[in-house]
């Protein structure tokens, strides 16, 4: 789950996870300094970033982990790790602050990681049509856009299902 601060990442994780969302932190290590824009935050030798996560046991052998972490530029180092072996990402969109979703969309697009954009209705009825939001986000037509309420389990589950379907649609056709 990516998206700016306060877009509902933790809420979404919590609504579908079988365990209460856990929070841990990642310390900004030296390795990430090179890719981190320190402008304005120079005083942060020991910056940490919160990482929320939950789990869904699919079968005794398969566990799906849900990770939510801020989609700000300076936190991409954690996404570089999360993106490995990930099915994909849900980018949560708050229509009042579309700009906070751009970095995440850009990140996943550039790396070819499957993602869906999910407009969180938590903030009230959405005033825009799907077309308007797509065009404002400059979403590739192939990228699904879903409307969800991150507080609602069925709705969050549907967003996850869309993501898995989308990831499957991008697999090479079995010969």
């Amino acid at each position: 789950m990516a998206g700016g601060f306060g877009t509902g990442k933790t809420t979404l994780v919590g609504s579908v996870s079988e365990i209460p969302p856990l929070t841990t932190e990642e310390v900004l290590t030296q390795a990430s300094v090179g890719v981190d824009d320190m402008t304005g935050i120079e005083d942060k030798a020991n910056t940490t970033v919160a990482l929320d996560f939950g789990r869904i046991t699919i079968t005794p052998d398969v566990v799906l982990y849900l990770f939510g972490t801020p989609g700000q530029d300076r936190f991409w180092f954690i996404w570089d790790e999360l993106a490995q072996g990930a099915i994909g990402a849900i980018v949560l969109v708050d229509t009042r602050r579309l700009g906070t979703s751009f970095p995440a969309i850009d990140y996943f697009e550039r790396r070819g990681i499957p993602f869906v954009a999910a407009v969180n209705r938590f903030f009230g009825e959405c005033l825009y049509t799907e077309e308007e939001i797509r065009s404002a986000l400059e979403l590739d037509p192939a990228v699904p856009l879903v409307f969800c309420d991150a507080r609602d389990r069925a709705s969050s589950k549907q967003a996850l299902i869309e993501l898995v379907r989308h990831a499957m649609s991008r697999l090479p056709v079995a010969s």
């Binding site: 579908v16 856990l22 929070t23 841990t24 932190e25 990642e26 310390v27 290590t29 030296q30 390795a31 940490t48 990482l51 996560f53 789990r55 869904i56 699919i58 079968t59 398969v62 566990v63 799906l64 982990y65 990770f67 790790e81 999360l82 490995q84 072996g85 990930a86 099915i87 389990r153 589950k157 996850l160 299902i161 898995v164 379907r165 990831a167 499957m168 697999l171 090479p172 079995a174």
Partner: protein
């Protein structure tokens, strides 16, 4: 003569006398670079009495398969430290590791399993 008193917060994790970086000899990354947040580990039968308490705590958490991220969350340790400590324990045979995380999921059957599982929720 007065004693200096230190009321600072260098033991924010209650009772911590040793900084975390000492526990990992100042290492900042695991030797096994395949370890990631979702890597699953499990305790192997071993006598843990000679381990430092912080390491023993990890082994005790690993009675069942558990991810590195979960260990960090339950024990309130930063992930970087958790990863290095798990690496040490793997190296010394206290923990076993599950199948390594895939770089990319391109397994249709696995995705179908996940999809079916989500639909059952």
């Amino acid at each position: 003569m007065s004693y200096d008193t230190w009321e600072g917060d260098d033991e924010s994790e209650a009772g911590r006398l040793v900084p975390l970086y000492i526990l990992v000899n100042g290492r900042t990354s695991p030797r096994n670079t395949n370890l990631d947040l979702a890597t699953q580990v499990i305790a192997r039968p071993a006598d843990t009495s000679r381990l430092e308490p912080e390491y023993r705590e990890i082994v005790n958490r690993c009675r069942n398969w558990i991810s590195i991220a979960e260990i960090g969350a339950y024990l309130h340790r930063p992930l970087t430290i958790t990863k290095v400590m798990v690496d040490v324990l793997l190296d010394q045979g206290y923990l076993g590791i599950g199948s390594p995380a895939q770089q990319k999921i391109a397994d249709r059957r696995l995705l179908e399993t996940v999809l079916a599982g989500l639909e059952r929720l």
